[in-house]
Symmetry: C2
Subunit: 256 residues, 2 copies
DNA sequence: CCAAAAGTGTTTAAAATACACCCATGC
DNA sequence: GCATGGGTGTATTTTAAACACTTTTGG
């Protein structure tokens, strides 16, 4: 199926397979070179950026929809995702944007479920930057990691959605372990600390951080030190998956 | 408009004013005689209980929809409500229930937006028990406060929704002040403590509780003691609305 | 005057914070 | 050999938890 006919079909008949008025938008965090990143898509023609999003199949749980979208944009499977907020301003409509898009494609259309109001559910995920192959969808030119501190202009309320996700991530840091998907299999304590500092956007005490993290038992110290590094070589750690998952549910019980 | 025609209109044309596939369900907590209560509706004919719920007008924010529903079921206005979770199991459909309902009313209908799948957003509110005049909707026999510890059987996943709301309420107790809507204008410290104990379902130390609550500055001590009470008369307090609202946003910073 | 509930303060334990020294490595 | 970052321990402050005595009131 070529591009135009795919688009036409989606705008004409999409409501037969998807729930109307409902969408999912994903805030996908990654961590690279000590910078927190978010995966964004750049719209064709308009050039503005947006969160990877999609719709809910008529027989699909929203969580599944979010995972499907994540898989399609990153190739990743089996990632922990969670809904964090519903955005339902009545003005949330992509009518003008979509109509302009269609004009650019060269399609005329008066009516479409895609011109109606959408309520969107925000989902967030923390993923391993190095494993992601960013993939654009048919509405987008590009799929790229963007620095959290240098975000481009974003479509609709997507910036608000992103900010909400980030704020919730910061809040949850004290109660839930993070890093399992954000860091490689084995990592050093300073690397883990950088991750926390990046998300919280402030410095943490090296010694206290280590003590508290160790106390949660989510880490396993490996008998291996990082090689070929200037200065004293740091030890490698990996996550103790069993305790990590326990902490995901039960909480960590510390304050950073 | 009589009952049958109102129902018929809602099932036939409701999708012209409401968003399809989307509903709001409200968990409305009250506190009376030291028992935490929830407002439930009893369905006509079937007799099973449900959360007060409703739909979102095509030009309405979900928060507004939730407030409108609250107002209609309780008469209350201007209550702090918050969404807490989206429930989206594909099996969430009231098709059979609604068809049975229509049969009982004496209406035949093959198709209706009301037979389709619904994704629902849970909202919770804490309200002043004594100010509520429970009002049933047209699908219900009765609207009643039910003890949280003796809940009747509930429709669909409403029990799960309620449990989720309660759990979130317990979690939030450490970070946000409560009581403003749950207690009368002026109240005593032991009354406030009972409220916390009821929600948390455990005893708290009288002295430590008082110290911590006082430290948050959300209370104003009044120059007035409760009269006509056995034993030593407790002092009255009221909430300092300014600090209360500040704490709602910024958090309380204590652990009970 | 006594039983029952409310008001208040102190002692103890735990947790968070601040801080200093030694160690290993590449240049 | 020295600058740099990593590893570890301890003293201090803050916060939470446990606990006891006094006060007031109705009966």
């Amino acid at each position: 199926m070529n591009f135009e006919s795919e688009i036409t079909k989606h705008f004409n008949d999409g409501h037969e397979i998807y729930l109307r008025h409902l969408s999912v938008d994903c805030v996908i965090f990654g961590f690279h070179q000590n910078i927190l990143k978010v995966l964004l898509l750049q719209a064709k023609y308009a050039g503005i950026w947006s969160l990877p999003g999609g719709f809910i199949l008529k027989d699909e749980h929203m969580d599944e929809a979010a995972k499907r979208i994540l898989k399609n944009r990153t190739g990743l499977d089996n990632i922990f995702m969670q809904q964090f907020h519903v955005f339902s301003q009545p003005s949330r409509s992509t009518k003008e944007i979509n109509q302009q898009f269609l004009r650019n494609v060269g399609i005329e259309m008066k009516e479409s479920w895609m011109f109606e109001r959408f309520v969107t559910v925000g989902y967030s995920a923390l993923v391993d930057f190095s494993e992601v192959k960013p993939m654009a969808d048919i509405y987008s030119n590009a799929s790229e990691w963007q620095d959290i501190n240098a975000l481009p202009e974003m479509m609709l309320d997507h910036r608000e959605i992103l900010d909400t996700a980030l704020q919730q991530l910061q809040t949850n840091l004290n109660y839930h372990p993070i890093g399992y998907n954000l860091l490689p299999e084995k990592f050093t304590m300073p690397e883990l600390q950088k991750l926390y500092e990046t998300i919280l956007n402030r410095k943490l005490d090296r010694r206290n951080f280590q003590r508290k993290i160790i106390a949660t038992k989510v880490l396993k110290k490996l008998n291996e030190i990082k090689k070929g590094v200037a200065h004293k070589a740091p030890n490698y750690y990996k996550f103790d998956l069993k305790n990590y998952k326990k902490a995901l549910k039960g909480g960590m019980g510390f304050e950073l």
